[in-house]
Amino acid sequence: MKYFMFVVEDPTAEPYVPEEDNIGAWVEEMTARGVNQKGDRLRPASEAKTVRIRSGETLITDGPFTESREVIAGYDILECADLDEAIEVASKHPMARFGRIEIRPFWIWE
């Protein structure tokens, strides 16, 4: 099953410990397992552009689509056997500790 993994900053998370940031190891393991299909860090939220067209007028704002303290910092596309595997994969990502992770299933066309 395919899942979209949102890697998210979370001000209420554990304080960042650089020595325990194992992102390289995570990418290596998950790629070797065939779980991690594609993913990247994203530019900071301040560099996001949100586009809305209202009454024919194009409005482009700086920043993400919603104001929240939790902000998307990266993404990964996972291929997992089931949700438990996706949870396991997410829990090993350093940002599960220093941020939070959302797992969303792809919408399989019917």
Binding site: Y3, D82, L83, D84, A86, I108, W109
Partner: protein, 387 residues
């Protein structure tokens, strides 16, 4: 182009079919709309999308078969007497942490305990349509999110067990508390919770928290015939007719309490101290205090702190108890919780300080959540006002 598709889809005949389809579509469309600027890219895109669609549909077929199998399990409520692996698979699936807590409870009752949706709705004082939707959404999420239908593997059992136990304890409390709703459903809920907890203990007989929860339930349930007087009014622990306690349940509960303290084990040990006392005066309150000390270290919530304060009052004197209650109330987190005022009122009453007791009973009445509790507080208020 076919080779591109083969690379993407890994399926030779599919690739060939879709290329052919793409050409057919191209001919139709280009006759109508004219040839696009980059016909090669257009063809590849269309063929690729077709192939991917077909692949998805094929994957869906396999998934759908699996889904139907799971849905069948979830649709047919299990036989109440049938304690099998299937039932445990169901319990763990229904209690998966990715489901919202309310949904876990509802789904467990519906599919594992076999209650009807109207019964569950009335047990939780929620409109039937709301409850039905809650259950449907939960089943959908199990399918859509890929929640596996199984007992979790050994390495996940400890963390998943906590979720199952809290759902079962929630069920038990719904049946155990005297909140409004038909008495019959209430008792069945508690009994059902006990049956399900037994099944889990059967799976994990060495897991102290599972046996601890069963012990706690049995010990609390043992008092069910003494908790209400003949007119249906609440009777407190110290005023209950202990001959009405279910001593077989007590014996079994006591046998399950161990020294290995987790949250449920400690709560069961506290209930055990009360169960062993032939009359309220022989309650080993110092033991209760010691157990609350351990429980507070494990689970430092304001409610545990309040219960500990009450135990301290019973063990060391009501003045000491009052001081401890005040200390806990001051540290925050209990704002407006009626049991704080009720506890104060009780100690003041026992000290003969009736005017102060009356004031506290009135404060407790402002926030008492259920009618039986309100009526109880009113009776106490009348007692102290009578002097």
């Amino acid at each position: 182009m076919v080779s591109t598709l083969i690379r993407i889809t890994g399926d030779w005949s599919l690739a060939e079919d879709c290329t052919a389809e793409a050409f057919e579509t191209a001919l139709e469309k280009w006759e109508r709309d004219g040839v696009p600027r980059n016909p090669g890219a257009w063809l590849t895109t269309v063929a690729k999308n077709r192939a991917l669609d077909r692949l998805r549909r094929a994957t869906n077929e396999a998934r759908k078969l699996k889904e139907v199998a799971i849905m069948n399990e979830l649709e047919e409520p299990a036989d109440a007497e049938d304690v099998t692996d299937d039932r445990l698979r169901l319990i763990f699936t229904c209690c998966h942490p990715a489901l919202p807590l309310e949904a876990r409870v509802a789904l467990t009752l519906r599919t594992v305990a076999g209650l009807t949706t109207p019964e569950i709705a009335s047990a939780f004082l929620v409109p039937e349509a709301t409850m039905a939707q809650r259950i449907v959404r939960a089943k959908r999420k199990i399918t859509n999110a890929g929640i596996p239908y199984r007992v979790p593997p050994v390495h996940l059992l400890p963390e998943r067990l906590g979720g199952v136990l809290s759902v079962l304890y929630l069920l038990f409390n719904e049946g155990y508390s005297a909140s409004s709703g038909t008495q019959l459903v209430r008792t069945d809920l508690a009994g059902e919770a006990i049956r399900l907890t037994r099944a889990v203990v059967g799976l994990m007989p060495d897991e102290p928290e599972a046996t601890g929860l069963l012990a706690l339930m049995l010990l609390q349930h043992s008092r069910r015939d003494a908790r209400l007087d003949p007119t249906g009014e609440l009777v407190t622990l110290d005023e209950q007719d202990r001959s009405l306690w279910d001593h077989a349940a007590i014996a079994e509960g006591l046998s399950l309490v161990t020294e290995r303290g987790g949250g449920y084990q400690l709560q069961a040990a506290i209930a055990a101290v009360h169960a062993r006392a032939m009359q309220p005066e022989s309650t080993a309150w110092h033991e209760v205090v010691a157990l609350y000390d351990r429980l507070a270290a494990l689970s430092p919530t304001p409610v545990v702190a309040l219960n500990r304060a009450i135990a301290i009052g019973m063990a060391h004197g009501f003045e000491t108890g009052l001081a401890e209650i005040d200390r806990v109330a001051a540290s925050g987190g209990l704002g407006g919780y009626y049991l704080v005022a009720a506890a104060r009122a009780d100690f003041l009453r026992r000290l003969g300080r009736h005017d102060e007791a009356a004031a506290e009973y009135r404060r407790a009445l402002e926030t008492a959540p259920t009618e039986p509790e309100q009526r109880f507080l009113v009776r106490r208020l009348e007692q102290v006002e009578a002097g």
